[in-house]
């Protein structure tokens, strides 16, 4: 079985999510925007022009009021009515065009970022994939990606519009009368204070609220998946009670967030009152001193009143924008992970033999799990790794597959060191089937074609036949077209492993490494899988981490690992007769299985 990596193992511990700094994030976004700069600029110009047209309305209304005050008669109002209509038309046309353009730019940016991030994650070198997928870090990045998409395509246009509107409104009041504009600015100090307070208190509270909600969901997930076990052990009462506590706790946090939010909006209200009161008071003085018309004061008050909603959007969503920035930093962090340097001239292996020279490995410095291992597997030969739990079998397999780099010594394929082979070349040469199994959502054919994109249906059938899976696949309602994976038909452990082996046949690598490929299939399935494994390994150089000794018995050579060292090597017959560790393992195994 797998020597379980110790939980504090830095190579697999859920550790460092690659996060970009603020500057890196801004630079990456700017770079993406530059590709679309003409459309982005045009969108901005149209939006500003459209929103400027919107500024006409209160001003024109002020004019109309002045005309009424001056008793100019109804006909004098009509041209201004026409101006109002025209302004509405211009505003509608321009903001619609600008909005559509901005959305196109935003969607393209989001899609590019999404494709780069996921694409980068999917093409990570094995070492990195291992350490990042262990803690579910990459799944979290995918959730971040959704946040970023929403931010770029919904939040950003809203904020941009609100910001432009705010600037234009203050500008319009300024054009009316600079003293009224000064009065309107009275709203700023309380709002700045409110925003600073919000960022200081709300962000941590929001994080804790999210944690409480995540905690609740995790517990629920555990409970739903383990409902049968909970019933079997009489744990249902306790599970239900803890579920209630967590649900209640997350509710308490949601209420706390709503308190903070409403307090914030309350403070914004104070700013609005101050600004509006100042405009009216200043207007009173100006009109009394004949320095401004009633129409101008009315227009200023109307402008400012229209800004209330804009303030709420601009400041209220600021928080969202902050969270979106954090998510963006994580996404950009993955998208810009450095590509490992491919060796300039990749050496071509002379053949497909494996040679391990003095390899040692330690997950934690000073605690080696593998010492000075030498191993040669000539092309086409099958070697089985045998040993008790924790002997280092999986680690050795991982070194050969290139998942970990040995801390000392080296691994060669056909005489070429693994790192000189280059990631792409290595992937074509070595295929690893590990304990990790996954059936991809979609049709079965889609899943298999991940390993061989250009395979014809009959190639798939042939490969399935090799692993003995074709009979049950053919019996499926839609055969190869049956939907499997999440949301589709559930496969048994044996079937899942057969599919994994079928992928190996389709990928058709010269070197195959099987680690625990038949572990979880139960007893009956194990025999089916042993046969399948034997069929798919024919003609390849193979290293099999033998879980049951029958897997070892047919190998060309058996390597017995004990405490990270090679304890014994030889054929089954020789080792069984030698009276060493293998003989002891074999007798424990065969005592219950007389031949």
């Amino acid at each position: 079985m797998t020597p379980a990596p110790p939980p504090d193992d830095p190579a697999t511990a859920p550790g460092t999510a690659p996060t970009a700094t603020g500057t890196e994030t801004r630079r990456a976004i700017a770079r993406l925007l530059r590709a679309d700069r003409v459309r982005a600029a045009l969108a901005l110009v149209l939006l500003v022009a459209g929103l400027a047209a919107a500024m006409a309305a209160p001003r024109v209304l002020g004019h109309m009021i002045d005309l009424v005050v001056d008793r100019r008669g109804v006909p004098s109002l009509v041209p201004w009515f026409a101006v109002l209509l025209g302004a509405a038309l211009v505003q509608g046309a321009l903001t619609a065009t600008g909005g559509a353009l901005i959305a196109a730019v935003g969607e393209r940016l989001a899609a590019t970022l999404r494709e780069r991030t996921i694409g980068r994650a999917l093409r990570l070198p094995l070492t990195r994939a291992e350490s990042l997928s262990a803690g579910g870090l990459l799944t979290r990045v995918n959730e971040d990606m959704t946040t970023v998409s929403t931010a770029v395509t919904e939040l950003a246009p809203t904020l941009i519009t609100a910001a432009i509107t705010t600037v234009l409104t203050f500008g319009s009041i300024l054009l009316l009368d600079w003293r009224l504009a000064l009065a309107a600015l009275c709203c700023l100090p309380p709002q700045v204070i409110a925003l600073r307070w919000l960022l200081r208190t709300a962000l941590p509270a929001q994080r804790r609220s999210r944690e409480a909600a995540d905690d609740r969901t995790r517990h629920l997930l555990d409970t739903v998946h383990g409902a049968d076990t909970a019933r079997a052990f009489g744990l249902t009462g306790r599970r239900a009670a803890t579920a209630t506590t967590r649900s209640r706790r997350s509710m308490a946090w949601a209420l706390r967030i709503s308190m903070l939010g409403t307090k914030f909006y309350g403070r914004l209200n104070a700013g609005e009152l101050l600004g509006l009161g100042a405009i009216l008071a200043a207007g009173f003085l100006l009109v009394r001193g004949d320095a401004a018309s009633i129409g101008a004061v009315s227009a200023a008050a109307l402008y400012f009143h229209r800004l209330f909603d804009t303030f709420n959007i601009l400041l209220g969503e600021f928080n969202e924008a902050q969270s979106a920035m954090i998510a963006t930093a994580r996404v950009v962090g993955v998208a810009t992970l450095p590509t490992p340097e491919e060796p300039r001239a990749t050496a071509t292996p002379a053949d497909f033999s494996i040679s391990v020279r003095g390899a040692a490995h330690a997950y934690v410095p000073g605690r080696p799990v593998l010492h000075d291992v030498h191993l040669d597997i000539p092309q086409g030969r099958h070697v089985a790794l045998v040993g008790p739990s924790g002997a280092g079998k999986t680690t050795l397999a991982a070194l050969i597959a290139g998942i970990h780099t040995p801390t000392a010594g080296s691994v060669h394929i056909g005489g070429v060191p693994l790192d000189a082979l280059g990631e792409a070349h290595r992937r074509r040469t070595v295929t690893l089937i590990s304990q990790e199994t996954h059936i991809f959502a979609g049709t079965l054919a889609d899943d298999l074609r991940l390993a061989a994109p250009h395979a014809e249906d009959r190639d798939l059938v042939e490969a399935l036949d090799r692993t003995g899976a074709w009979p049950w696949v053919r019996a499926l309602p839609d055969g190869l077209g049956t939907r499997v994976g999440e949301g589709g038909r559930r496969l048994t452990a044996t079937e899942t492993q057969q599919i994994a082996l079928t992928r190996l046949v389709l990928a058709d690598p010269p070197i195959a490494i099987l680690d625990e490929a038949t572990a979880d299939a139960g007893s009956a399935g194990a025999r089916v899988l042993d046969r399948a494994a034997a069929a798919v390994l024919t003609g390849r150089t193979a290293l099999v981490v033998a879980h049951r000794l029958t897997q070892a018995r047919d190998a060309d050579e058996i390597i017995v690992l004990e405490d990270g060292r090679v304890a014994e090597r030889g054929t089954h017959a020789a080792l069984a007769a030698a009276g060493g560790p293998y003989a002891r393992l074999w007798s424990a195994w065969s005592a219950t299985r007389p031949d």
């Binding site: 009424v68 505003q91 065009t97 909005g99 079997a232 509710m251 209420l255 996954h438 424990a588 195994w589």
Partner: protein, 576 residues
């Protein structure tokens, strides 16, 4: 004095709403006949929050509407007439309006959030209880994925029904104030505005068709992309192992592109809709302005009232839009309620009945259909050639499915007539698929056992190399599959039930460890009835007796050694 204190207390609960106490009972939903019952339940459990939040939201909206009225009054009475006293009174009035506005906004929103959260909480608790019900859950929509999505999305979704009701009440508050104000200013103008808005809204709703359609397509394609990415990322190690990363990335690129085009189409539809909306709003307000201007010119209304009328017309759009939006929210909430009702009202997997009884004291025997007899205190191996047979027996013993009445007997008594909780206290099934719960190894092993059983159970399961305080993460992923399996076995042994059923408990451990586990089970279960469902010879070797199942029926019976030497089919079955 007491009245004052009571009012202060009420005020405090309004301004600082709290979550219910841990031991606060959750009202059961007796008959979830369908979505309607769930909606009624939600409105009933949240009615106090709903009344409070609806009232205060209405006051808040009314105060919002009063702001343009106040502006108009101040312009008329203070600014136009140069009256400083009127200005001071007007500003004080404005401050009062803002005071009411901000206070009622706080309470309205907070109580509203509590209404949503309270309903979501109550439904989550009920859903959890339903999922954990002793009689199990059957029906098509009860896959773990669906149950989770109902609890995570639909439980709060039902709460939005309350929120929609609150908003509608609030919008009505605004409409009432605006109507009164407009009618006071000028009945013809008021009527024009109030009668003009509904057709305008109707038109906008008609125009919203393409937006709704495109947005639906956008959501669906975006979800596709996100699901595909999540799926690939979960299988990342598999992809990396077979070198399929580039192929997967190319496929994702395709899906993502599809999502982008759908999103651009939706955004364009929205932009056009917003543009039309802007133009129509502008035209409407222009007509109101002209109308008000003409009235003012005739001296029917004052200039301040012109400002008031235009301000009110503009601020009336929001409550009308709120009502139409709330109708959509209600429709979505009804769908959620329907889904919650389906789970809460899902059929039970097995029969209930019987009265709770203490587990039997001494060794107890079992009869399992068809024809498997388990003697009291024996360690019986059940070797099934077809895994489906093993699963069927497990499902019967775990009371996941009902056997024909009178066929599954525990100590001679029909299990189908017994209380399921009591049956499980007597017969514990440890499934092959190990479900460990988040916590520590010790938490899991001692889930149903006193603390002193920790060390012996870990030793018997050959799990004494695993630290008892080692954390167990979601799905036990912090442990290797072999460790998970041994911890699960230790949990079963620690529970020490009168009858223990183990299904392939060593499929993920090596041969040497399996031998230790087999010996451990033998010792730990001495004198207690144990059923080992497996074809592993290492385990079968320690049993007292083995029953062989072929095509659903027992075909052979005897000791492992005897069967090995006499039954070639058995040899073929267990030797790998």
């Amino acid at each position: 004095m007491r009245t004052v204190r009571r009012w202060t207390a009420t005020f405090r609960t309004l301004i600082r709403p709290a979550a219910p106490a841990d031991d606060a009972p959750v009202t059961p939903l007796t008959d979830p006949g369908g979505g309607r019952a769930v909606v009624r339940y939600s409105l009933r459990t949240g009615r106090r929050d709903l009344i409070a939040s609806g009232t205060f939201t209405a006051v808040h909206q009314a105060a919002e509407t009063a702001v343009p009225i106040a502006i108009g009054v101040i312009i008329d009475h203070a600014v136009a007439r140069h009256d400083p006293a009127a200005l001071l009174i007007g500003l004080a009035g404005l401050a009062a309006v803002f005071g009411v506005l901000t206070f009622s906004m706080r309470i309205g929103l907070r109580m509203g959030v509590r209404g949503i959260e309270g309903t979501a909480h109550a439904l989550r608790v009920l859903l959890t209880r339903r999922v954990l019900h002793p009689r199990g859950i059957a029906g098509e929509d009860t896959t773990p994925g669906n149950l989770l999505s109902v609890a995570a999305t639909d439980a709060p979704g039902v709460g939005f029904y309350n929120s929609a009701v609150r908003r509608i009440i609030g919008a009505i508050g605004a409409l009432v104030v605006a109507t009164v104000a407009l009618m006071t200013v000028s009945p013809p103008l008021g009527l024009f505005i109030l009668l003009g808005l509904p057709p305008w809204l109707w038109l906008m709703r008609r125009l919203a068709g393409p937006v709704i359609r495109h947005t639906g397509a956008q959501r669906a394609t975006a979800a596709d992309a996100s699901h595909q990415a999540a799926d690939y990322l979960r299988g990342l190690r598999v992809l990396a192992g077979i070198g399929a990363g580039t192929t997967a990335a190319r496929r994702f690129h395709h899906t993502s592109d599809h999502a982008r085009h759908a999103a651009v189409r939706a955004a364009t539809a929205r932009a056009v809709y917003d543009g039309v909306n802007t133009v129509l709003t502008g035209v409407f307000l222009a007509v109101v302005a002209l109308f008000a201007g003409i009235l003012a010119d005739h001296g029917t209304i004052s200039v301040g009232q012109v400002v008031m009328a235009v301000g009110l017309a503009a601020s009336l759009i929001a409550p009308f839009a709120t009502i139409t939006a709330a109708i959509r929210v209600v429709a979505a909430a009804k769908v959620s309620a329907e889904r919650v009702a389906t789970v809460l009202g899902a059929p039970y997997a097995t029969a209930g009945g019987g009265t709770p009884a203490a587990p039997p004291e001494g060794p107890v025997g079992l009869d399992i259909p068809p024809g498997i007899a388990v003697r009291p205190g024996e360690l019986l191996g059940v070797a099934a050639g077809d895994p489906a047979d093993a699963t069927r027996i497990i499902d019967l013993l775990a009371r996941r499915t009902d056997p024909p009445p009178g066929t599954l007997l525990l100590g001679g008594a029909d299990v189908t007539g017994m209380d399921p909780v009591s049956v499980r206290a007597a017969v514990v099934v440890s499934f092959h698929h190990t479900d460990l719960f988040t916590g520590s190894v010790a938490d899991n092993v001692l889930a149903a056992a006193p603390p002193d059983r920790l060390a012996p159970a870990l030793a018997a399961a050959a799990a004494d190399d695993i630290r008892a305080d080692a954390p167990v993460s979601e799905h036990g992923l912090s442990l290797s599959s072999g460790q998970r399996q041994r911890v699960a076995l230790a949990r079963a042994l620690a529970a020490d039930p009168p009858v223990l059923v183990l299904h392939d408990p060593t499929s993920a451990v090596d041969a040497a460890t399996e031998a230790r586990v087999a010996a451990g089970i033998r010792t730990a279960r001495a004198g207690r009835t144990t059923i080992l469902i497996t074809t592993s010879p290492g385990l079968l070797a320690v049993t007292d007796r083995v029953t062989v199942i072929h095509d659903g029926h027992p075909t052979a019976d005897g000791t492992h050694a005897a069967l090995l030497s006499t039954d070639p089919a058995y040899r073929d079955l267990v030797l790998r």
